[in-house]
Symmetry: C2
Subunit: 117 residues, 2 copies
């Protein structure tokens, strides 16, 4: 698959709500995930650590809707825009937010995901 095909296939799975399958299929074993925050939680590495972060997020948020736009491709990187309507379960606070995920590929796998908001 070309970089563009990987970007399109990955994003198609996200649009179908199959985010776990997208990660299982395309994340590299040593993927690095970088959030837009300070501190030790900002960065985690490895397929299992990234899956644990994702599982935590889905366990702590009720997702009312997600709109996924993209991919926007440039070489070995692509961006995806997410628009989310969610409720944080602990506080009950409902939020509408947009964010952008930037994905870097190497050897047909995603080696970094970096989130902007």
């Amino acid at each position: 698959m070309t970089s563009k095909e990987i970007a399109e296939s990955f994003t198609a799975l996200l649009k179908a709500g199959r985010h776990e399958e997208a990660a299982a299929k395309f994340n590299a074993d040593d993927i690095v995930s970088v959030e837009a925050m300070e501190g030790p939680m900002a960065k985690c590495q490895g397929r299992e650590a990234v899956k644990a972060k994702s599982d935590w997020w889905y366990a702590h948020h009720e997702v009312h809707s997600v709109t996924t736009e993209g991919p926007f491709v440039n070489g070995n990187q692509f961006a995806v825009r997410f628009e989310m309507d969610i409720t944080a379960k602990e506080t009950g606070q409902r939020m509408q937010m947009a964010e952008i995920g930037l994905y870097t590929m190497k050897d047909g796998k995603i080696v970094e995901e970096r989130f902007f908001y």
Copy 2:
């Protein structure tokens, strides 16, 4: 200014249609600009070369509307989403397109702009 303040100030100028002022104020002298294409035109370097590319683009397109969303920030980088309604003057073809610009800062200036579409 913090990275977040630079990102917000730069994007505010873009939203106001003042893109030349944004570039003049925040682009580093040796800024690198990377388009999502193959070949020698994909990358150009230097404030003047980047301005020439921008001038060329505005000379060859009629801009009906631009919607600018952002900034989406992560550390020393930020993303901006553009939605454009333009006509290519040479062909007369009208196009609606969305793209994402990823900007990298160093020492208070933008040292790289990279476009995804």
